[in-house]
């Protein structure tokens, strides 16, 4: 039972990270029906920014939670700026173009950002300091859950609740929902659609940056390529849950995390990805629009 619990918590942690990234995919898709392949790179840039800031602060002699706070804040602002700029450069000019064009543009942006970080930083793996504090009160729960896992879970939960409140109760959230339902109609009733889309990208990037800082502190190393695999997995989670649906992305991410964790724990890690993608195929056969996806009629 202990073993089961450990795998369950491990899967939950992994799922949380997937969820933070998957939300960015699903929100952007929901609003402009674009698969933003550069999203994984925003996550990677968040992690890199946090590394650079924390190194500078460590050099200046700072330590403790203030480093985490400052590094994470700068990472969030920086990633948000990247998300905003990527949208303005690569997607906005193509808003009226056929749907394939922004997709190609997204792939190009992803490759560009990866190579940019590789050239500007390094292609080697870099050590990432463990910014997350050690929570001593967890020790009495044995070693089932580590501090960093606990912090990842709590942070993810808080982020989700805030996101939900933002979408449900703020004016911007309302505008986002309206734009997602029907962009032209929203425009007619006075919603600034371009601004709403920019906000969506910014919010997605903020979540990705939080994910980047958390997972990099958890596993202790980063390089320019980490965004690719995390991005693919998060994208899978978003599709699994029904792309465009926010609770769907979270559900999909947790299911993916658990599947991987249990497949490794009870079968073999050789088949980790096999199980994850077999599950994806099975769910899509039964529910082509994903677990919580709306089976939308093509919008006119």
């Amino acid at each position: 039972m202990d073993y089961f619990l450990e795998l369950f918590l491990g899967g939950l942690t992994r799922g949380s990270i997937y969820a933070l990234i998957a939300l960015g995919y699903t929100m952007v898709y929901g609003i402009i029906e674009l698969i933003n392949f550069a999203h994984g790179e925003i996550y990677m840039i968040g992690a890199f920014t946090a590394l650079i800031v924390s190194s500078v602060l460590a050099f200046a002699g700072m330590s403790g939670p203030s480093v985490l706070f400052l590094a994470a804040s700068v990472a969030i602002i920086y990633s948000a700026a990247y998300g905003f700029t990527v949208e303005k450069i690569a997607y906005k000019p193509l808003r009226q173009a056929p749907r394939l064009s922004p997709l190609i543009s997204a792939i190009g942006m992803s490759i560009f950002l990866q190579n940019y970080v590789m050239l500007a930083q390094t292609s080697d793996f870099l050590p990432f300091p463990s910014l997350l504090p050690e929570l001593t009160f967890l020790e009495k729960y044995g070693l089932k859950i580590g501090s960093s896992e606990f912090i990842i879970l709590v942070t993810t939960a808080v982020s989700m609740v805030l996101l939900m409140l933002l979408i449900k109760f703020t004016k911007m959230g309302k505008a986002m929902r309206a734009t997602a339902q029907d962009r032209n109609m929203a425009m007619l009733v006075g919603v600034d659609v371009n601004r709403t889309i920019s906000y969506t990208f910014i919010i997605g990037s903020v979540l990705a940056a939080i994910g980047g800082v958390l997972i990099a502190s958890h596993i202790g190393r980063i390089n320019f390529y980490i965004g690719f695999i995390a991005g693919i997995k998060a994208f899978t989670a978003a599709v699994l849950g029904g792309i465009g649906s926010i609770p769907g992305a979270v559900l999909g991410a947790f299911i993916l995390g658990w599947t991987e964790s249990f497949a490794t724990g009870y079968v073999s890690s050789d088949y980790e990805d096999v199980f994850a993608f077999v599950l994806l195929v099975l769910i899509l056969i039964v529910r082509p629009s994903g677990l919580l996806g709306r089976s939308t009629v093509q919008k006119v």
Binding site: Y3, E6, L7, G10, G11, T13, R14, I17, Y18, D124, F125, L126, P127, L143, G146, S148, E149, I215, H218, I219, G220, R221, N223, Y225, I226, F228, I229, A230, K233, E260, S261, F262, T264, G265, S268, S269, D270, E272, D273
Partner: protein, 388 residues
């Protein structure tokens, strides 16, 4: 018309044959020791073969400056096989017909394997600087084959012997990164452990390189009660696994390969890297012969040594030295000399075992101590050797 033409062809053949005879005549009269050098000298894999060829030329020059071998000059016969098994038989036949006394080559394991039969039939000692396929020596099919490089399974052998005989662990988890290199090593390790019956493989798994985290597989290791992990692969995944194991306060020993014996591993894993074992090639940077050989290469060819240069250098030295010691170029005598007399080479003092592998060439065990890889004292490793 037809007959006249073939008549002319026949005539031209006669002339060519006569001419080559003319040229071959005086060369043969001078009596040289012919050192065949076969390997990839052109094509995609030329960078593997050319350093050995250069090394052979340098060694020949060195021996000739001292008066040659058995009073005769050493002559290099170089033949290109482009690392292709289907061409290697041609290459071998050519070298045999040109009268090579010993052959340094081939470079790639596949090409070496197909060529060896031909050398065996012709009674020619063959020594490779780079063919690492374990079968070449271990199958016993090629008594004429020697090599100055450790075979592919040497690292796995060192890792498993070290774990079972020095660290005395009974339960071992084997992980690999599903790549050729890592999986190969892991499979050899499993075979060795199962054959020795001194320990038990409790986990054998491939992990996904670049995954977001490895907590599930780390949990599995913890659950299995393994005392040591043998990991086949490279440092990025190794550092993640070690960090997560130490975060879970697991004291499980971690033993890996020269993909992990990299300073980046220590830099990334930080404190978690302390105590990690990794096997790696023996250090030759302080060997004066190696320094001299690399300097000679630089001054003669003005290039970097390249892949297997020192192995090639050592092989050429060993072959010529064996002919010297055997006072003959006969197969049995040379083979016996190779197994009897040690020779000083850039790889250290080497001689060959019954199967044809060089003793004293290969890997050492290193451990991370205070942030650097330190070679595990020879006394400890010697204990491993004795038990073998």
């Amino acid at each position: 018309m037809k007959t006249r033409l073939s008549g002319r062809v026949f005539l031209s053949w006669l002339i060519i044959a006569g001419l080559t005879g003319l040229f071959a005549g005086p060369a043969a009269a001078a009596e040289t020791i012919k050192l065949g050098v076969a390997g990839s000298h052109s094509g995609d894999l030329a960078s593997y073969g050319l350093p050995t060829k250069r090394a052979a030329e340098l060694v020949a020059k060195e021996f000739n400056a001292k008066g040659g071998v058995l009073g005769k000059k050493v002559e290099i016969l170089a033949e290109d096989d482009v690392c292709k098994p289907e061409l290697a038989t041609n290459t071998a036949t050519k070298l045999v017909s040109r009268g090579a006394h010993v052959v340094l080559g081939h470079i790639c394991s596949g090409a070496t394997k197909t060529a060896l039969g031909i050398y065996k039939d012709a009674g020619i000692v063959t020594m490779s600087s780079s063919a690492t396929n374990p079968e070449l020596t271990q199958s016993g099919k090629y008594p004429n084959f020697f090599r100055t490089i450790a075979s592919d399974d040497a690292q796995a052998k060192l890792d498993t012997d070290f774990a079972m005989d020095v660290l005395k662990v009974k339960k071992i988890a084997i992980l690999h990164d599903k790549g050729d290199y890592g999986k190969g090593l892991a499979e050899f390790a499993r075979t060795f452990i199962e054959a020795s019956k001194k320990a038990q493989v409790v986990v054998f798994e491939g992990i996904t390189p670049g995954a977001v985290d490895y907590s599930a597989v780390v949990n599995k290791i913890k659950q299995s009660g393994a005392e040591a992990v043998i990991y086949g692969g490279y440092h990025p995944e190794a550092s993640s696994i070690v960090i997560q194991m130490r975060k879970k306060k697991m004291g499980t020993l971690f033993i890996s390969d020269d993909g992990v014996k990299d300073d980046t591993f220590i830099k990334v894993a930080g404190k978690a890297a302390e105590g990690v074992y990794a096997s790696g090639p023996k250090d030759t940077t302080k060997n004066p012969l190696a320094i001299a050989a690399i300097a000679a290469n630089k001054s003669t060819y003005n290039t970097d040594p390249g892949a297997f240069f020192l192995n090639g250098y050592a092989a050429a030295q060993a072959l010529l030295n064996a002919i010297q010691k055997a006072k003959s170029t006969k197969y049995e005598a040379v083979a016996k000399a190779l197994r009897t007399y040690p020779v000083d080479t850039p790889l250290g003092k080497i001689k060959f075992d019954k199967k044809g592998d060089a003793i004293g060439v290969g890997f050492s065990m290193y451990q991370v101590r205070n942030g650097i890889y330190v070679e595990v004292p020879a006394a400890v490793t010697a204990k491993v050797k004795k038990k073998k």
